[in-house]
């Protein structure tokens, strides 16, 4: 089958999830209670909202990831042809990885990979 199978799979996913939730909705008579709508925080009413500015720690990794993920995307076509092209492809990618690795070492030296 071709790309149409993806649409079929999407329909399957939605049907599966929605079906399950709907069956629950139909058969279950819920009761209403103001406590039920409360966010769970170990049984204590929440004090501050979590929707505000957050520690930067995770974002540095996300940035680094972007760099390396782009590299990975470049490597895919290279990986397919490397056997046919031979040694020259290896040297080319060595240069490419070397430059990236220098960047990685720089980030490491700068402490981007250290928490806080």
């Amino acid at each position: 089958m071709g790309a149409i199978s993806l649409i079929a799979l999407l329909i399957a996913a939605i049907a599966f999830s929605a079906g399950g939730i709907l069956v629950g909705k139909i058969f279950v008579k819920g009761s209403s209670n103001p406590q039920k709508g409360q966010a769970y925080e170990c049984g204590i009413p929440t004090t501050t909202s979590p929707w505000h500015q957050f520690n930067v720690g995770y974002y540095l990794y996300a940035l680094l990831f972007l760099v390396f993920d782009v590299e990975l995307v470049f490597l895919y076509p290279w990986a397919v042809v490397v056997k046919k092209v031979g040694m020259i492809a290896l040297f080319e990618i060595l240069i490419f990885i070397f430059i990236l690795f220098m960047g990685f070492l720089y980030a490491h030296k700068k402490g981007a990979l250290k928490w806080n």
Binding site: M1, L9, I11, A12, K25, Y40, A62, F101
Partner: protein, 358 residues
């Protein structure tokens, strides 16, 4: 001999004779939908039971043994219970995103089924960029988790989602590099060609130590990508109660947990395909007799056997190791796995170019 290939071709031929191509395609789609839904349901039931049984055996206890013989209907009963539970949405949550998140996670899991070769010529879509497709789609699942964590308006969920975001994107790299080693050796992104390249032996045995290292890296990385212990920081229950799905209940929770198990199945299936030859029986070089005997075992059983072996391996990890801390987790990836996998990729490239592999 039982073969899924025969059934599919027979069905396809019959459909094409009976109906015009468009209707035949539509019917095929319906069959795919039904098959994938039942595969999901079945996998969910089997994997949860398997996890509980493996955990029980490792922890010197019996595990579920009340519902049905040996407890085999336990998960069915649990699912029924989860369906019958009231799905709560917190008043303060972003209701649209909150309800959308489980759908996204499920869709990603479902889409990943497309290029997997379950048996010889039994594949939904043999896309020529199969491996790339898998890494592209699988990186989408983090969106569902982030969405769930953010929309819940719960601090545990938010922390869990953030952790899982950082974790999944990081380990994506090592998984990608590990996959690339096989692409380098095979020279193709297509799943069927990768399997065919293992006609005379699996890559794990053909590719010397670098491929074994890649295999280990792959297993570690996908364990982290599927948020499994010892990398289950997104739902570390001793720290964040239940992490990103703290607020989910009933069927919505079931969908998250089902998606987790399906994802394990998929990454293990891909691992089995890339390193252990997929549905390819155990073939050793030129031992024709041995290879023929191996061929008598249906290819679907070979595939499932290898996949479930890898699943067992991942479950074994979970019930043995303590959980890492979030900064150690990222350290492990950026300071150990990533440099090693980069170096390993170069090694494999040299092997591939020089033709040193078997």
């Amino acid at each position: 001999m039982f073969s899924l290939e025969g059934i599919t071709t027979a069905t396809q031929d019959w459909l094409l004779i009976k109906f015009n191509p468009t209707i035949a395609l539509a019917i095929e789609c319906v069959i795919v939908i039904l098959l994938s839904i039942s595969l999901f349901a079945l996998l969910g039931l089997v994997l949860v039971l398997m996890e509980r049984k493996v955990a029980a055996r490792i922890q010197i206890r019996l595990g579920p043994n009340r519902v049905g013989p040996g407890g085999i209907f336990q998960t069915a009963a649990d699912t029924l219970k989860l369906i019958m539970k009231e799905g709560l949405t917190p008043d303060t949550a972003d209701k649209f995103l909150f309800n959308l998140a489980p759908f996204i996670v499920m869709m990603v899991a479902m889409l990943l089924l497309a290029p997997i070769a379950f048996a010889k010529n039994f594949q939904i879509w043999d896309i020529n960029i199969g491996v790339l497709y898998i890494s592209a789609i699988s990186s989408l699942s983090v969106i569902g988790i982030l969405m769930a964590g953010w929309a819940s308006n719960n601090k545990y969920s938010l922390l869990g989602a953030m952790r899982s975001g950082a974790q999944i994107v990081s380990y994506e790299l090592s998984a990608g590099f590990a996959v690339l080693t096989i692409v380098v050796l095979t020279g193709s992104l297509q799943i069927s060609e990768i399997v065919a390249a293992q006609q005379n032996g699996w890559w794990l045995f053909k590719g010397h130590i670098p491929v074994i290292i890649a295999f280990v890296l792959y297993i570690i990385a996908v364990t982290a990508e599927t948020n499994r212990a010892p990398f289950d920081l997104a739902e570390a229950e001793s720290e964040l109660t239940a992490g990103f799905h703290t607020e989910y209940s009933g069927m919505k929770f079931a969908l998250f947990s089902l998606a987790e198990y399906i994802n394990i199945f998929i990454v293990c299936a891909i691992g089995a395909t890339l390193f252990l030859g997929g549905w390819m029986p155990l073939h050793i070089g030129h031992w024709e007799g041995f290879n023929h005997i191996m061929d008598y075992i249906p290819s679907s059983i070979w595939f499932m056997g290898k996949t479930f072996f890898l699943i067992f391996l991942i479950m074994w990890f979970r019930w043995t190791f303590p959980r890492l801390r979030v900064d150690q987790l990222l350290n492990l990836e950026w300071k150990y796995l990533l440099p090693i996998s980069l170096f390993n990729l170069l090694l494999v490239t040299i092997i591939a170019i020089m033709g040193w592999h078997f």
